[in-house]
Amino acid sequence: MSAEPTCEAAGAHWDLIVLGSDLEGLAAAAEGARLGLRTLLVGGDVLPGGTAREHTLAPGYVAAGLVDDTETTARALLEPLGLEQSGLAWGPTPPRYGVSGAGTLARVDEDAEVARAFGADNAARLGRWRRWLHRVGPAVLALWNAAPPELVEPGADEALRMAQRAFALRRLGKRDLYELLHTAPQPAWDLAEERFDLGAFGAAWTAPALLGLPHGPRAPGSAALVLLDGLLRGARPIGGPPALARALFGALRRFGGGHRLGLAATRVLLAGGRVRGVALSDGTELSARRVIATEGIARSLRQLFEPAELPALLHDLAEDWRTRGTVSVARYAFERSPFTDLREPVRVVSAPDLRTLEVSVDAHWNGELPAAPAIVFDLDPTGAPGGGAIVTAQVHGARRPAGGWNDARRAQLDRLVRATLADTSGRSEEPVAAEILTPDELEARYGLDGGHLGGGETSLDRLWLRRPHLAVCRYATPIPGFYLGGRAAHPGGPFRGGAGVLAARRAVRDARGE
């Protein structure tokens, strides 16, 4: 493809400019355009998609995005965009496997197999968990798939909406409501003990949800992530992140939105304290009354404004927003899939128990590489020639060993991951290509603050009303016309696309109100 900046945008005057072309930026721009704003997407990369873009590991071997977190896409929020018209199809969530007591892989999401590999008790527990999710799901998702409530200055409308949502929660009935309030703030460890087990079965249900935390499963509030993971998974865009990115980009164009890609925005321009446009790296100025920033918070705030322009609240936010990426990514291209009969993507959680997960994440606080880390493997046969597979490993706790990363440590991590894969799959293969991406490299290559894969930690104090801060959790900031709509905004993290859509809706509402 051409490396020239692409531009499909007439004129220099826009209602809304969206910065950043990762899934959140694409979703924000598409939604803004759908709702009638003259919208322009601006991104520093020539091709849209950011971390969701395809990446060629070796000729014929193409990884579907940096990591696949699209099984927790905020699908309900993307619904109005009609992504199917842009070629998107939804398929089932990839089957999830854990390592059974016998050391072999077994599905943790399929009743009969759970009963066989993890015991009848666990099969019954899985059934109870699913039934409970089914009961509480609608009320929780109604909250989750919406902007957090306005607590600061709720108008009559907002008060009514809050009352309705509170009522929906209470209509769950005492028992389910209590159970929800018991579950959300508890540690995933306790949830696993009460709902799954503390072995491989429980680990398979917790490890993927905790990838955005600098903590292990003993951290209070980590159960909320397991709960949300359970509620939101259910469908995945066929083709994963790149397919979703393509469809969102298609929707943007379908709704008449423009894009300028290949030139990053360097400044947000203000006039009288409010947004009047953005300046691009080549000096071009574009005018717009509203700008949604969807890249990392620290970067967005520090690079797009002069320090003196930032209100104290945003200045503090840029300082305090925590992005300690504690996950390294290792990707491999295999000529022969480590799973013999792989026809569709699968997720394999390699952790014999929750303790392994806890210890993995502890290692990074000690400045060590975890000796036997918990690893979430995504195996995707679709990006490789017949019989092959792309394997993406997310390694818990591999953050930054004391003394920093060097070739020896990267090689050590590579050996560790491949040994784990060989142990887990029972097959030892030489990869055609391999790539180790430590948090440092994730930061450098993908512009991820702190090398964090989800835009910022998803710990209890950084969710919902506090993502990223109570005063800006509804996307508008103290700078009139400037919005935060990236993964550091609600729902953010692994709940792809949602923050962009909600930020765009907010911008549209404000535009109509003027």
Binding site: H182, D461, R466
Partner: protein, 537 residues
């Protein structure tokens, strides 16, 4: 001997006694039954070694509610609180940091580590005190129940919501943050010096199986700023004669109001007939009847021990069984033949408050990692006090008592809790060895040593799994969920059986609030009304 009462209180801990005192004050005919020979439960003073009196378990008075002190006229019955004067951190590299009641002195001390931290420290105190004012009414009244549709509950929730919103966006955000953040993350936002952050962060983990980086631990920092006098250094203190004096003064008040108190009167079971509590049977077979039975013991002991699972609804029992105790701390009490002298700072002025062995956050991380692996911390966090320095009544002249609160000591060892007795001495040694690294000649100064592991706390004091708070003080075990959602108002599934201990809202520490609020609830008073009059000031 009398066998019929208006109310029988099982357990003569400070909460049970507070409940009894309030009931007696209201004219009820009350009996308190204590298993041990001494009153106080875990708020107890005992002459463990001749001449040496220890606050055997809990060792500082933290949040004893001022309205209880006033209502029960505790000073009249012997309560005398001595504020902790300082907080001292020795460091292995020979430096040290002492925070004093005097802001200027503290500033100078902190400045030796970080000028920036010294500058901002008072501001942190002011911000925290402000939030303390918001939290205080919450611990001073029963918790509203979001699962109830009754108008008074809705009003309670609304009041809470309105109170929460009564601030700027930034202040509201700070409140949310305090509830959910980790102590270290919060302190990181303010300070840069580990010497300041490490000893401050530990308040969030005391009595709980969490680390200083665990979300939700920031909240407890507030407890240090919830004193009656705004901006006061600390609301923590010693009770003259040990923490048992708190219990004894409440007991004296209760007796004054007509309550009867029996020690060495262990209860075997609570008598339940037709779903109603009717009295208790003592271990010697004596049956005592009462209109109401109150338990000051923890929920596990109360319901599964004294009542019995068969008399409780299954759903309730199931929830009770997942109520988490996970004791994580132990206690080492030492009789010393001289005052310890810290190598990094000789002298005694800085030893009159508390002393923290918490040299760095990494040290605390590793201490927690030990516990998670099922062993006591090789180098633990230790909170030391030497009450004999400020209260000469507790040790012979020239000699001292040293109380060491030690974390982590996980109840659940890798080989199970029953492995504790075999490890008791090693645990005591780890504590002494740790202190000896800071205090030359320390081992030689020890005359006697009492080591209490979580196992001992369970065996001797009836604290399930050795949890000093009658159950962890974690978000999902607070307020309307303490101990079981729907039964957080001191009432239980058994009619006329009440829970008055730290396993009820607002929880542990020498607060007295669960006992007093339980009594108020039993008496049918709007407990919150009493609070507005007393503690809302």
């Amino acid at each position: 001997m009398k066998t019929k009462y208006d109310a029988i209180v099982v357990g003569g801990g400070h909460n049970g006694l507070a409940c009894a005192a309030y009931l007696a004050k209201a004219g009820k005919d009350v009996l308190v039954l204590e298993r041990r020979h001494v009153l106080g439960g875990a708020a107890v003073s005992e002459e463990v070694f001749p001449g040496f009196t220890f606050s055997v378990c809990s060792y500082v008075v933290s949040l004893l509610r001022p309205w209880i002190i006033r209502d029960l006229e505790l000073p009249r019955f012997g309560l005398e609180l001595i504020p902790l004067e300082s907080s001292f951190l020795p460091l292995p590299d020979g430096r040290s940091l002492c925070r004093w009641a005097n802001a200027g002195d503290t500033r100078r001390e902190i400045a030796a580590f970080s000028a920036k931290d010294a500058e901002i420290f008072p501001e942190f105190g002011r911000a925290m005190s402000k939030i303390g004012q918001f939290v205080k009414p919450v611990i001073d009244s029963p918790a509203p129940d979001p699962g109830s549709f009754s108008p008074s509950e809705l009003a309670g929730l609304l009041r809470l919501g309105t109170r929460f919103r009564d601030a700027s966006a930034d202040a509201m955000d700070f409140r949310l943050k305090l509830l959910t953040m980790s102590a270290v993350d919060l302190l990181d936002e303010w300070f840069e010096s580990e010497a300041l952050k490490a000893p401050m962060s530990v308040s969030g983990i005391i009595g709980t199986f969490l680390g200083v980086r665990s979300p939700g631990t920031a909240y407890v920092l507030l407890h240090h700023y919830m004193g009656e006098i705004d901006g006061a250094f600390r609301s923590w203190g010693f009770a003259r004669g040990g923490t048992g004096s708190v219990s004894n003064s409440i007991a004296a008040a209760a007796r004054h109001f007509g309550a009867e108190i029996r020690t060495e009167a262990p209860v075997a079971r609570i008598v339940v007939e037709g779903g109603t509590a009717k009295g208790v049977v003592l271990q010697d077979g004596t049956e005592l009847r009462a209109t109401d039975v109150v338990s000051g013991c923890d929920p596990h002991r109360t319901f599964l021990g004294f009542v019995g699972e068969e008399l409780l609804p299954d759903d309730f029992t199931a929830q009770l069984r997942r109520f988490r105790y996970r004791g994580s701390s132990g206690k080492v009490n030492l009789a010393l033949d001289r005052l310890p002298e810290f190598a990094c700072r000789p002298g005694a002025d800085h030893l009159r408050g508390d002393i923290a062995i918490a040299p760095s956050i990494g040290y605390l991380d590793r201490a927690y990692q030990d516990a998670k692996a099922g062993r006591f911390s090789e180098r633990p966090y230790i909170n030391v006090v030497i009450p004999s320095l400020v209260d000469p009544t507790v040790a012979p002249p020239g000699k001292h008592v040293m109380s060491c609160f030690v974390q982590y000591a996980p109840y659940e060892l890798a080989d199970g809790p029953a492995a504790w007795p075999a490890q008791r001495n090693a645990f005591g040694d780890a504590v002494v060895d740790t202190l000896a690294e800071y205090i030359p000649g320390f081992r030689e100064s020890i005359l006697h040593r009492q080591v209490l592991t979580p196992w001992d706390l369970e065996q001797e004091f009836g604290l399930t799994e050795g949890n000093i708070f009658h159950g962890e003080l974690t978000l999902e075990q607070l307020a309307f969920q303490r101990p079981v959602a729907g039964f957080a108002r001191y009432s239980t599934p058994v009619r006329h059986l009440w829970l008055a201990g730290s396993g009820a809202h607002p929880g542990g520490g020498i607060m007295g609030a669960p006992g007093a609020l339980c009594a108020k609830t039993m008496l049918g008073k709007r407990a919150s009304a009493a609070i507005t009059a007393g503690g809302g000031r």
